[in-house]
Amino acid sequence: MLSVNGLKAKVGETEILKGLDLEVKPGEIHAIMGPNGSGKSTFSHVLSGRDGYEVTGGSVLFEGQDLLDMEPEERAQAGVFLAFQYPVELPGVNNTYFLKAALNSIRKARGESELDAVTFMRLIKEKLKILHLDDSLLKRAVNSGFSGGEKKRNEIFQMALLEPKLAILDETDSGLDIDALRVVADGVNALRSPERSMIVVTHYQRLLDYIEPDHVHVLAKGRIIRSGGKELALELEEKGYGWVLEQEQAA
């Protein structure tokens, strides 16, 4: 589904990603862990097409298409979804109006018909339940005045509605207390399917107690220095990032 080969990217003059390789197959959940400054967020942003990053080498293929050549909306329409670490507040932009526009933009790009109001509302209500979200959310402005937990749940709610093929969760656990974390993780788990892949980017192992990954990768200094199964996350939790970094240097 996703093939990242030798990806290099810089911000300004600083090279952040220095040859990153990653292979994600349909239905797999990959956790990307790493210390601060390792390039985790840069990787998420480059995949989603955010401005401010210059790709200087390598390639990213999504279902055989050159992802890096696509506009952010084309990536979303192709089925890539980024759950933001810091969801942006959009004062005055009504949540329902926004969700409908997003869903219909994606449906249109897929050659499907736009949903009428009734069908759309039925779908929305169904998805709200998954995230234990209240209807009142629909009348509010997107993320505006939301608590940290509400913002993160709103991200997963959007993911539930847009049904991406590949979801990238960028530090979705940051700023969440344990209850909120559980709700978010339950929402993510409910969306697991054999066709849907996820990349879970996180600093801490704790999220992986709730969202169980198939593969765990350690990102450091812009490259994946170690990959393994879910037990790697536990080992990291116990021994800290220093341990893999030392092993890497010794090698």
Binding site: E73, A76, L82, L90, L103, L162
Partner: protein, 440 residues
């Protein structure tokens, strides 16, 4: 002093139907206004309130007055296409400044409420107007208001007696129909609410075709003690038109006024709002939203006078500018020496969608009292890149995302429109305007 009107304005001074001689008091007011016009002459950009605006184009066009007695014939298709779906109102329609009985539908009025056309009132009950006409605006009038006073066509008169409450809104529709020559219409309105009276007024300016004409309207609004008026003003003149409004407001003690000004049309649309508190504990909320694109100048001048203590005013105007659009926001709040405990907040925010757009914003507070809460702020900014990326990352095209952010910016003002049915029409119109605007 010259006997001649300033060049370009000669025919503006002739009152419609030349009703001269009918009422001595009215003739005197008109003569006085005409004299004032001659004294004032044509302002140039050296005048403070005309610093950013040139009247050159208006004068070159040479708008003339057309006496239209059979205005109904100008709108053969009727009014249906211009109504707000779902709005149940007491409707009065003016075509090119003249009352159209056929297109109007006043319906049943509750006791204590009188609504009608100015010229009908002048025939049937001139005494009801004698003490009221020109009372709020006063004898010293700026050029365009004086032109209107000297030569007004027809207009709306609303008189609510003490305690009268009007449930349905009054809807005043101005229809503009192009004539063989560029013409000027000078509608003149008077709304007077006695003590404790309540009403809502929806004022809409609509043009049948994208033609060149000029509207020069004056409104006098007098709110008695404890009176409440909601006033939604939707200006959708032709993109070629000149639109001038002088809105004069006087508020007695404990009265409430809430005005929302939506400015979408006109090549040059100037609105002057002159508000004065004459009694304590009154509240005035003035809000506005304007869109200006190529060949458009949206021009607002606010003058709010806190002459007495304990009043609250809020002035909140937002603008979206694109292409080579221009706007002026010239807002002034004056707090008199004895107007203690005044609460005034003025804000003007502008969203610039193009580097060729221009806004001149000048909010001013002039405070002579020492125990007041006053603030003013102005911003001129662009669409936030983070917000834009967030929307695009959800599959929205860049242009749809921009439009959505603009509507979000405008939403605060649109939401404050008193009638939901009107709100929807405005949201739709603003959306349509943004859709056709070059936002990229």
């Amino acid at each position: 002093m010259s006997d001649q009107a300033p060049t370009g304005f000669e025919t503006w001074l002739v009152a419609a139907g030349s009703a001269a001689g009918e009422h001595e008091w009215l003739d005197r007011q008109r003569r006085h206004a005409a004299e004032q016009v001659r004294e004032l002459g044509v302002p140039n950009t050296k005048h403070e309130s005309w610093r950013y605006t040139s009247l050159k184009r208006l004068l070159e066009t040479g708008f003339s007055r057309v006496d239209e007695t059979r205005v109904d014939d100008l709108v053969p298709a009727g009014i249906d296409a211009y109504l707000v779906p779902g709005l149940d109102s007491h409707r009065i329609v003016m075509v090119n400044g003249h009352y159209s009985p056929r297109l109007s539908a006043l319906g049943e009025l509750p006791p204590g409420v009188r609504i009608g056309a100015l010229r009908e009132f002048l025939t049937s009950d001139p005494d009801a107007l004698r003490e009221r006409l020109n009372a709020v605006i006063g004898p010293q009038q700026p050029l365009f208001s004086a032109l209107n006073t000297a030569g007004s066509d027809d207009g709306l008169v609303v008189l609510l007696e003490r305690g009268a409450i009007l449930e349905r809104p009054i809807e005043l529709i101005h229809l503009a129909v192009g004539m063989e020559v560029p013409r000027v219409a000078q509608p003149r309105h008077l709304i007077a609410l006695a003590e404790g009276a309540q009403a809502a007024l929806i004022e809409r300016y609509i043009s049948l075709n994208p033609e060149l004409y000029c509207t020069n309207s004056v409104l006098e609004l007098a709110l008695g003690r404890d009176a409440t008026l909601y006033h939604d003003r939707i200006q959708m003149e032709s993109p070629q038109a000149f639109h001038i409004t002088g809105l004069y407001l006087d508020q007695a003690a404990n009265s409430h006024y809430q005005g929302v000004n939506i400015g979408l049309g006109g090549a040059w649309a100037r609105t002057d709002i002159i508000a004065r508190f004459s009694g304590e504990h009154a509240q005035c909320r003035l809000q506005g939203l304007y869109l200006a694109g190529d060949q458009q100048l949206m021009d607002y001048h606010l003058d709010v006078e806190h002459a007495v203590p304990n009043c609250t005013s809020q002035e909140n105007f937002k603008g979206i500018l694109y292409g080579k659009g221009r706007a002026v926001f010239d807002g002034r709040v004056l707090v008199a020496r004895n107007a203690q405990r005044t609460d005034a907040a003025m804000s003007n925010k502008n969203l610039m969608l193009s580097e060729h757009a221009e806004v001149d914003t000048k909010p001013q507070l002039e405070i002579h009292a020492d125990d007041v809460k006053c603030s003013h702020g102005t911003t001129v900014g662009q669409i936030d890149a983070e917000m834009l990326f967030y929307l695009r990352s959800r599959g929205l095209s860049a242009s749809l995302a921009r439009r959505m952010l603009c509507l979000g910016f405008a939403g605060e003002i649109i939401e404050s429109i008193h009638h939901e049915a009107v709100r929807e029409v405005v949201a739709e119109q603003v959306g349509a305007r943004l859709e056709s605007a070059p936002l990229d």
